[in-house]
Every structure is written in C-alpha cells, then in structure tokens.
C-alpha cells in the first residue's frame, strides 16, 4: 500500500530526513519510534503534505500513485489521514459543521451522495460512543478550548468518520493520561482492518501496550536505524534510545 524509497526531507533549510525506506502493507500496524529530533514527526508531516516540509529526494508510492505529486487535500480524499500531534484550533468554525464538510468532501470524491444533516447526525451517533465524544465537543469551534485529551479524541473521531486507508498518528499519546490513552487506543484498535494500514509515531513504548504494532522501526538522525517486531519496543523501553544511537549501524548502510 505504501512504499517509501530513500525519502529525504528538509524543514527550515535543514535536512531532517536523510533517506527513509519503509514498506507498509494493508492490514499492518507500524510503529515509528525514536528520540526527539530524530525526524519522526517530519516523516508524518511530509506524508500528509505539509507545505513547510520540502521533499528533496526519494519517492513515495501510495496505492500505485505518486503521493508526493498530490496536494494535501487530494491525499486526504485518496484515503490518507494524519492525526496531528498538535491539533489546530479553528475559531468560529463549528466542529460538527467542519466534520460534515470533511466527510462530504471525501464522499463526493468517491462518487457517493453527500450526507444530509440527518444522515450525518446518525453517523455521528454511531461513531461517537467509542471515543466518548459528547454534544459539547460537537457544538464548539474546532478544537477551541478543548483539553489535550479532547483534542486527541477529536482527531481519532475524525479518523473514525473518514475511514482512511492509511492512517498516520503523530504522537497521539503525548500529553494523555492513562484513561485518555486507553480511550484513544481503543478507538484506533476498533479501526484495525485488513484493508487499512496504520503508522503510529511515538516517542514512548507505553502507547504500544495498547496499540500493539506488527513492526517497529527506530528512527535516528533522519534514518531508520533498526527495524523489528513488537519486542523491539520493549527493548527500547528497557535500554533507552542511547543503545540504538551508539551501538547500531544504520540498516542498509
């Protein structure tokens, strides 16, 4: 589904990603771990098409298409979703109105009829239980005045509504207490599907206790330096990132 080859990305004039290779199949959950500044979030944002991240080399093929050729909104309509590390507050835009616009943008792209208000509310009811989304979160402006936990729940709620084929969760666990973490992880697990791939970007192993990955990749200095199964996450937890940074050779170097 996703094939990243030698991806190189610059941000603010600095080379952050120095050649990432990653292959993700439908139905898989991949965790990208790494110390601060290793380029984890850069990878997530570059895949989403953030304008401040400049791709200086490499290819990203998503479903046979050149992902890097698509605008951020085209990527979204093609089924790529990124849950933001820092969801943006949008004053004056009602959350329910925004969610409806997003759902209908995708439906339109897929040639499906747009949902009317009634149908949309039905969908909301169906999807909101799992993430404990209450009426007040829907009637407020997008993310405005939301607590950290509410913001992250709202991200996963959007993922549930948009049903992406490739979901990238950028440090969705940061700032969450254990109850919120369980809620969010439950929402993500409910979306695990043989047709869907999920990339979980995280600094901490803790999230992976709840969203158990099929593969773990360790990013350091803009490269994937080690890949393995879920047990790699436990090893990192035990030995710290220093172990990777000093001891391991870059994979494929």
């Amino acid at each position: 589904m996703l094939n990243i080859k030698n991806l190189q990305v610059k941000a603010e004039g600095k080379q952050i990603l120095k050649g990432i290779d990653l292959h993700v199949n439908a139905g898989e959950v991949h965790a990208i771990m790494g110390p601060n500044g290793s380029g984890k979030s850069t990878l997530a944002r570059a895949l989403a098409g953030h304008p401040e991240y400049e791709v200086t080399g490499g290819d990203v093929i998503y479903d046979g298409k050149d992902l890097l050729d698509l605008d951020p909104d085209e990527r979204a309509r093609e089924g790529v979703f990124m849950a933001f590390q820092y969801p943006v507050e949008i004053a004056g835009v009602n959350n329910a109105y925004f969610l409806k616009a997003a759902v209908n943008a995708k439906r339109k792209h897929e040639g499906l009829p747009e949902l009317d208000a009634m149908e949309f509310m039905q969908l909301i009811r169906e999807k909101s239980k799992l993430l404990d989304i209450d009426q007040s979160m829907l009637s407020r402006a997008v993310n405005e005045g939301f607590s950290g936990g509410e913001k992250k729940r709202n991200e996963i709620f959007q993922m549930a509504l948009l049903e992406p084929r490739l979901a990238i969760l950028d440090e969705t666990d940061s700032g969450l207490d254990i109850d919120a973490l369980k809620l969010v992880a439950g929402g993500v697990n409910a979306m695990r599907d043989p047709k869907r791939a999920i990339i979980v970007v995280t600094h901490y192993q803790r999230l992976l206790d709840y969203i158990v990955p099929d593969f773990v990749h360790v990013l350091s200095g803009g490269r994937i330096v080690k890949s393995g199964g879920k047990e790699l996450a436990f090893e990192l937890e035990k030995r710290g990132y220093g172990w990777i940074e000093t001891g391991a050779q870059p994979v494929g170097a």
């Binding site: 951020p72 909104d73 979204a76 309509r77 925004f98």
Partner: protein, 444 residues
C-alpha cells in the same frame, strides 16, 4: 491660505444657499453651524482625529446639495437594500423624505415615525428639545456642515413604556447625479426612545453601483431610562461614493443600547460612533464588521464615555481587507472619575487578504476611576496557514478551507444580528462581495 479659501468656494456657496425658514431656534442652529464650518474648514491629516484618513478627494470635489433633486425612483430600485419582513420603513431619497416609498401604517400607538422636516413643525417640542444636543459641531467640521445643510431625514419618537414590536427600517438612498455636478446629501436622524421603551432600528445607506456622490449623515439617539435600543447600520453605498457619518448616543440609567455597524461599500468611509453612558447600570454594545477592497478606505472611530458607575460596555470590530484597501480603527474608552465598577471590553481584529492591504489601529483608554475593569486587544493578520493546512488534510480544497475561515471570521459578527431576514440579506451581500474579491486574488 488663498488656496484654502478657493477650495472652500463651492462649499461656501452651498452654505450660503442653506435651508431657510422654520422655527427660530432651528435657523439659529443652522446659522451657527454654517459659521462654524467656515471657521473650521475641512479636517486634514494634521488633525489627530483624521491622521490616517485623507478626505481631500471630498474637499476638492464640487458637490451640489441634493435636497431631494434627482430622478424619482420606483420601489424596484430599492430591492437590493431591503430585507424581508420589515413592515415599517422610512425612505429618504437624495436627502428628502419619500412618502410614496415609505411604509408607516400599523405603527403601535405611541410611536411617531416619519420625515424629520415635518416633525420640526408637527412635533416641535420634542425636536427642539433634542435635535443637535448630542452632535456638537464645535470641533467637528462634517457635523457642522450637516447641521447647516440638512433639510430632512428621519424622525423616530417612541413614548415611555412603548414596545415597537417589529424592526423599523430607515433607508437613505442616493440616485446618483443627473446634473453635471455630483450631489451630496446631508441627512439627519433623530431617535428619541422613551423610558422603558424597546425598539430595533436599522439604518441603511445605499446608492447605485458606480455612482459618485457624497453622503454626510448625523444620527442622534436618546435612550431613556431602562429603554432598550438595538441599532443596526448598514452601509451599502456605491464603491465610488463618499460616506461620512457620525452617530451620537446618550444612554440613561439602566438603558441598554447596542449598535451593529456593517460597512460594505464606499470609496472613503468614516463611521463615528460616540456613546455616553450617563446613568448607573447603562449598558452599551458596539459591534462592527467592515469589508473593503480596491483602493478603498474605511475608518471606524468609536468612543464610549463611561460617565456613571456600574456601566458595562462590550465592543468587537472586525475587518476584512483585500486589494490595496486601507482601514483605520480608533477605539476610545473614557472612564470618568465617578464611573467606578466600569467593565469595558474592546476587541479589534482585521484579516488582511492581500499584502498590500493595511490597517492603522489604536485603542485609546482614558481612565480616571480606580475600581474598574478595562481590557482591549487587537489582532491583525493574514489567514492562519496552520488552520488551512489542517482543513486540507481533512479533504477540503485550499479554496474551501480559506472560505470556511473567512466566513467564520465574519460570521462571528453576523451571528450577532438579531433580525434574521436582515442577517440573511447581509450574509448574501457580504459573501457575494467576498467571493468576487477572492476570485480577483486567485486570478492575480
């Protein structure tokens, strides 16, 4: 100096031909105002109050007082400026009350609405008692000009305890020039809202697209004790017209006055709102939304005078500027020594859609009491790129994301318009104008 006098020549001719007759007090008022204008001349950018607003295109033009001249217009010509469900309306065409276009049937008992010129004789006591009491012209040239030259306008008198059940629409229309020289209308509004009365009043200023003319308007609103007045000003002048207007409000004890200024048209626009909270517990809300593009200029000057204790005031002004448009916002709040427990909040925001648009903004707080709460904030900026990216990652195109953010920005003020048909009409007008501006930006 000679140059100044020469420049003022056509204006002096207009002043010499000022309306005559009527009661003695009125003629005195006109005479004093004419003399005052002659002494003051037009303000220049050297005047602090006009620092960023150069009105020389007005001063240098030769406008002929309209005094009701110009082609007669049919009801159809008003369509773009009306909103549905407005049973009561006063229409003033080129500065003169137009009875055939006005609807005054069915007004509740105790409400007098109509031509100001007629009220000067029919409601002599009230008019003499209130007209010109708030709109002082000692230092204000445009008020002096208006006071000297105004021939007519709208008169609204609501007796104590009377509730005006439906909104009243005051519509001031220019028809554009048929004569060689462009016309000016000096129109005047007098609202006297008795104690415990309630009313909603919409003032619309409008003219045909492309017409060049000058509207110089003065509105005085007296809000009696515990009275509620909800006022809307809709400025939909031709984008080639000049619009200079001031509204003066006096609020008594426990009165509640709210103003919503929606400024869409005009080449050079100046909206002054000055409210005196002159009784304990008087509350004042000033909201504004303005839109300008091309090389247009919109200047909003507001002043809230907290003269008595326990008066809250709330103010939010927002602007959307495209092209090379310029805006000025000056928000003055005075808290007198007596006015303890004042609670004043002022917010001013502007959205610049182009790199060439600009705004000069200044809060001006003068606080002489010590137990008060006064806050002010200004935020000027372009569209939030992070918000646009966020919306795009959810599948909305750049254009959809941008429109959503701009509509949200304006919607914050539009949502405060409590007369629903008016709000819908304004939304339609504003969004159509925005769509045109944005299409131009995209084409560039």
């Amino acid at each position: 100096m000679t140059q100044v006098i020469e420049k003022l020549m056509p204006w002096r001719a207009a002043l010499e031909a000022r309306p005559q007759g009527g009661p003695r007090w009125l003629q005195d008022l006109r005479d004093r105002a004419a003399a005052r204008f002659t002494a003051l001349g037009f303000p220049t950018v050297r005047d602090e109050e006009w620092r960023f607003t150069n009105i020389s295109p007005i001063a240098n033009a030769e406008f002929v007082p309209a005094n009701g001249a110009g082609p007669a217009i049919s009801e159809g010509a008003l369509t773009g400026f009306l909103y549905s469900d407005a049973p009561y309306r006063v229409v003033v065409v080129n500065g003169r009350f137009a009875p055939e276009l006005s609807h005054l049937q069915g007004l509740p008992h105790g409400v007098r609405v109509g031509s100001l010129a007629t009220a000067v004789t029919d409601e002599a006591d009230v008019v003499e008692r209130y007209l010109g009491r708030l709109a002082e012209f000692g230092t204000k040239a445009f008020s002096a000009l208006n006071t000297a030259l105004a021939l007519d306008g709208a008169y609204v008198h609501i007796r104590d305890g009377v509730v005006l059940d439906r909104p009243l629409h005051l519509l001031f229309v220019a028809t554009g020039p048929e004569s060689s020289a462009p016309m000016m209308s000096n129109v005047r509004v007098l609202v006297v809202a008795g104690d415990r009365s309630q009313s909603r009043i919409v003032e619309t200023y409008a003219g045909p697209r492309g017409a060049k003319y000058f509207t110089n308007a003065v509105t005085e609103v007296f809000v009696g004790e515990a009275a509620v007045v909800d006022h809307y000003k809709v400025q939909q002048e031709s984008v080639d017209a000049f619009h200079i207007a001031s509204m003066h409000v006096h609020a008594g004890r426990n009165a509640n006055f709210s103003s919503h200024s929606l400024s869409l048209g005009g080449q050079i626009v100046r909206n002054d709102v000055a409210a005196v909270l002159d009784g304990e517990g008087a509350e004042c809300t000033l909201n504004g939304l303005y839109l300008a593009d091309g090389d247009r200029l919109v200047d909003n000057h507001t002043a809230i005078d907290h003269a008595k204790p326990h008066c809250p005031s709330h103010e939010i002004y927002k602007g959307i500027l495209g092209g090379k448009a310029r805006a000025v916002f000056n928000g003055k709040i005075v808290v007198r020594q007596d006015a303890q427990k004042t609670d004043a909040k002022q917010t001013n925001r502007a959205l610049l859609l182009s790199d060439n648009a600009s705004i000069n903004t200044k809060p001006q707080l003068e606080i002489f009491a010590d137990d008060v709460k006064c806050t002010h904030g200004a935020a000027i900026g372009q569209l939030d790129e992070d918000a646009i990216f966020y919306l795009r990652t959810r599948g909305l195109t750049y254009f959809e994301a941008r429109d959503m953010l701009i509509h949200a920005f304006a919607g914050d003020i539009l949502d405060r318009v409590k007369i629903e048909p008016l709000r819908l009409a304004l939304e339609g007008e504003l969004y159509a104008q925005l769509a045109k501006d944005l299409a131009e930006i995209d084409a560039a």
